[in-house]
Structure formats: structure tokens, C-alpha cells
Amino acid sequence: IVGGQPGNSPWTVSIRNRAGVHFCGGSLVKEQWVISTRQCFSSCDADLAGYEVQLGTLFKDPGPGDPDQQTIPIARIVCGPSESQLVMLKLARPATLNRRVALICLPPERYVVPAGTVCEIAGWGETRGTADGSVLNVARLPVLAHGECNAALRGRVKESELCTAPLRAGVGACEGDYGGPLACLTADCWVLEGVITPSRVCARTDQPALFIRVSLYVDWIYKVMRM
């Protein structure tokens, strides 16, 4: 996260490869389910033996003594509808919910978050020197109306994408944050409205940032968890 600050986001998870290295973020939507992005994985048939998610700690690489850390193997990957660029990861066992680990809400189907709503992104990715990269960083971004965004991006915004307004100070997601949440406060609850996907430049100041609009895929998400 560029332009963010250390913060708390108990539903944000770190996804780690066989070498235990963090490479992407994700969001805990059920005790045993994490949502991330397709671009973090080589294929829908990827063999994820040895891959894990880490929760409950603010540190990117916590020491062995961190009492709240939970590390859970990933049992399976399920790819979303082709255009969604979303994946769901089933954990080998349920996460334990506590002060440091919480579920994020899913939005109603096809819900549009009002423009101007202040949301936040979180992750352990690149900070480009703007913050301490060894802990979870959080940054706030305001939602940009779909029409405005479309105008700014010359009509290339899809219905499945959600925009946030660029900030002059250069705030945004970067490598290592992909798959992480864009969480917005609605009815006193934090709701997963967007998922971070790779972009050409980190924290652009001259263009809106794009996220996958999760509300278009909640029927798929519930179906996967139900099936």
C-alpha cells in the first residue's frame, strides 16, 4: 500500500507460497473461505499444496511467538465466472474468530456503494518507502461515481468494476496487495465492496483506481460456499 499507514484490518489475510513468502492479499468472508484475485494464481487447477493464509497478526513476517497468529493451509481454489477475475480459496480448517480475526460482510446482490463513501484498502504489499513495509498498512480512498469514472477513463469502465477517486498525495495499492479488500463502512459494518487487481502503475494521482465490484458476484460466492 502506497500512502497508507499501519492499521488494523482483521479480515485481511496474507497469502503465502510454499516458501512461506507473502505474495498476495485476500479477505476472510467465512471462517473457511477467503476471496482473492485470479491474477495471483497460475491457473484454476493450480496445485496449492504448501500454500497457506496467515491471519491475526499485523506483521508481514511475525516471529514465532506472536500469540494471535493463525496459519492455515489452503485446501482448494475455485475460480469465479470468467470475467470476474475472482477466486475463492477454501481453507483446510476454519479460522478462529477473535479480536484480531473477523469476517468482512458481503454486499447485497448488485449493490452500488454511494459515491463519496470513504472506503479503505489494506495489505502488506509495496509501500514505495511511504510507510513501514513490515506491518499491515491501510489507506482510505473515496468511491467515485461510475459515470464520472467512465468519463475519466474514456468509457472503458466495465459494470463489473468499481472506481475510487485519485488523491493528489498518491495513495493506492501496489504489488503484493493484489487480491486484498476495498472495504466500505455501511450500516456500521465493514463490507467487501471491491477486490484489488493488478494495475499498470501504483497509486496513480491522475487516474481513478479500479477494483472488481464484488456485489456482482455474491450469488456465485454464496453458491460456492453452499455447494
Binding site: 499507514q5 499501519p6 492499521g7 491474477q39 491457473s43 470476474s84 473477523a102 449493490y111 491501510v138
Partner: protein, 459 residues
Amino acid sequence: HRSPLNDFQRLRATELLAAPADPPRLLPEWGSAEQCAQRCAASLACRAFHHDRQSQQCHLLPWTQHSPQVQLQKNIHYDLYQKKDYLRDCIVADGSSYRGMRAMTEKGLRCQHWQATTPHDHSRFLPSPHNGLEENYCRNPDKDKRGPWCYTVDPNVRHQSCGIKKCEDAVCMTCNGEEYRGTVDHTESGTECQRWDLQHPHKHPYHPDKYPDKGLDDNYCRNPDSSERPWCYTTDPGREREYCRIRFCKKRPRPLNVTTSCFRGKGEGYRGRVNVTVSGIPCQRWDTQTPHQHHFVPEKYSCKDLQENYCRNPDGSEAPWCFTARSTVRIAFCFHIRRCPDELGAEECYHGHGESYRGHVSKTRKGITCQPWAAQTPHVPQISPITHPEAHLEENYCRNPDNDSHGPWCYTMDPRTPFDYCAIKPCCKPLPAPLQSYGDVVAFEQCGQRDERLQRKGR
């Protein structure tokens, strides 16, 4: 550690139907397919058997699909196993195990019946229940290096070789052998291959049900993972897998679907010059191993055109992709290469969400066969013809009984994938249903709460 099934070729959901006049069937036996294979191998009369997976019953059979007045018929209750030696039209090693029905020499002379003593009188090779000297079929009872032979009906030519090809030469392969469907079942060191539908001696992910289009039949050499050439798991517990020796076809196939400005299907024919990922990260050159080590070396994949650092699809992935020049992002798809317009709409399509789709597509977008809606395995369905009688849930055709907004879907034959969407596209871009603002009627339960004090402490 070889399975007795290694000597058999399996045909799923198939039954052998013999003319009634033939000898009565042997009595049914019980056991797994492997146990049945053991019994059939031990019985001289047995050449094939039906195995009923549900009742674990098997019927040993004294004939194969090549026997006169016998025909194959679809029967979902049986899997048919036939002794390879009776089915092959090629030979392994010196061909002494060959039991095919060729009855002509390499020069075109008809073979003399082994039973007969004219025009050539011989007493050394007379038929017996043990030696397979049947009719006038080519055989190799004396392990002749040149392979199966026979006495001929030409008085001037006593005996002649039949010129039957070795199996490793019978079927050649192109490119990296992904399409090879020959019957070589030994590795280049001569070790026998393990069956793909068995998990011993080596556990593996390439189960035939999961990869129906990879031709993972019996224990034949195949290339399901885009290795450089066909391979198999071996029956040697100490050696998990090994390449096989397969002849290259002389003629190199012309690549299909070559495109440069867009891609068709999975983009395997894409030969354009896009060399950055969706997010603009440059691609790594295929002929380098940094920052990412990989096995897609251009020389070993000569027909995949792995030039420079262009997006390519050498392994049957969903779309062209590349290794990226950034060490933290190993692989990325090049989804920004557009799909060729003529392809859209070329296949079946559906209207709306596909609730009224009644086509016959029965594969998921990954090519996995759909599970019949009425079946209970490998997945116990929550939606079935009984729960949704009006949804036309026929056979294993893709349908959308629950009005899924992402289109027709099906339960799959892959035990690890309960359901997936099908390879059908919308006929036209559906008019987006209005996004909802909901105003303030939104409410949530047991989620989205955090300890704000921790948030502040973070600052």
C-alpha cells in the same frame, strides 16, 4: 508393484454382446476390477471381462470385440476390460505375446492355418490352449527376432514374417505429444507404466475423470501437463515418472488458428507480439531463467513459437500468458489481448441468464464432463430433476435451474469441483440489471466489526 489391470484395455460404460450361439458365459464372480483381472489373467479361456462398479461383480468372457459375431454396445453399468494382446495391431518386444488377427505376411501371402499340415507339413507348432496358435493368425512361438510370422499357403514359400510394426513406431507424435494417443506403455528405460486410473504405487493428480480430454487411458504414455514429451508414472516405487520414447511424425502439422491481433479458443495459436501483462508489467523472455526459472525452453517447445517475451499459451491454459519480469509476480495472463470477433457467437449461446437454454453442451468451461443431473456421484446434488422438474434437467446438459446470473452450469465429474460454468457464451451482452443503491435498508449480521481502538493504536 504392477497391477494385473496393466494387461487390459478399459472401455467405459461398454458391454460386449455375443451371438447367442456362442459358448455360455462363465459364472459371475465378485471383486474389484483388479481382482477380476487377476482371475482373467489366470484363466486361459478368459480374454475380457465386464466389471460392474456398483455391485463389484464381474463376468469373465472368452471373446473380445474382434471375435466374430461379437459387438460393442453402450451400457452404463459395465466397464469392459479386454486383454491388450488380443486388441493391439502392433507388437511389444519380439511380439511373442501378439494375439491379433493379422493373417497375411509382409509380402501379402495368406497364412496357412496352424492346424493344417499342407501345403507345409510341420509338427513343431501345433495349436494348444497355451500357445495362442489360432486359426491362421500371425504368431511368434519361437521368439523370432523379426516378430510374428506364419507358414504360407504358397507351396514355394514355407514361412514368412508378417511385418507387424512395433507399438513404439506404430503411432507417431507431433510437437510435444499432447495429442499422442498411441499404446506405448513402457518408459524409455523399459519400465512399465502405472495406470492413470490407479493411485499406486504413485499417488497423482491426473485422474482420467478430471482430465477427460487428455486421453489418460489405461497405462499408456501421455502428456497431460505440457511436459516436453509424453511420459507416465512408473510401476517402480522408486521412480515416480519417466519420459517415453515415441517417434516424431515426419510431417510437421501446420499450426491451427494462427492469429496475431486477437486470439481464438485458448489462444494456443496466438502469434502476436504483445509482451506486457494486463497491469503493464513487462514479460520475461522465454529463453531466460531469470527472474523466474521454468521448463518452457523454446528449443524443447519448437512448435509453440516461444519467441522473445511475447504472450503465448504453450500449456493449454485458458489464454495466452507469460512469466513476468518482476520477481514477485511469476505468471500473468494477457487477458488484454482481445478475443477474435468472429468467434463470438460462433458457438451455441444463451439468452438472458440462460434459464431457457435447452442445448446439448455438457462440458464446463475447463472441458470437464458434466455429471448427469440425476446422478448422486461424485457429487450429491442439491438441485435435481426431482427438485426442479420444470428445468429440463436432461442427461448431463448444461442448464440454469437456479437462474444463476452467470449463465448455465452443471455439477462436474471432477470430485474436487462440485459445479462450474459451461463453455457457452451469452448470445448478446445482457442489459445490465439495475445496480441497487438500497438506500439505508441494508443490514448485516456477525460481520464487518472490528476493534476500532486497535485501529487507533495502529496510528
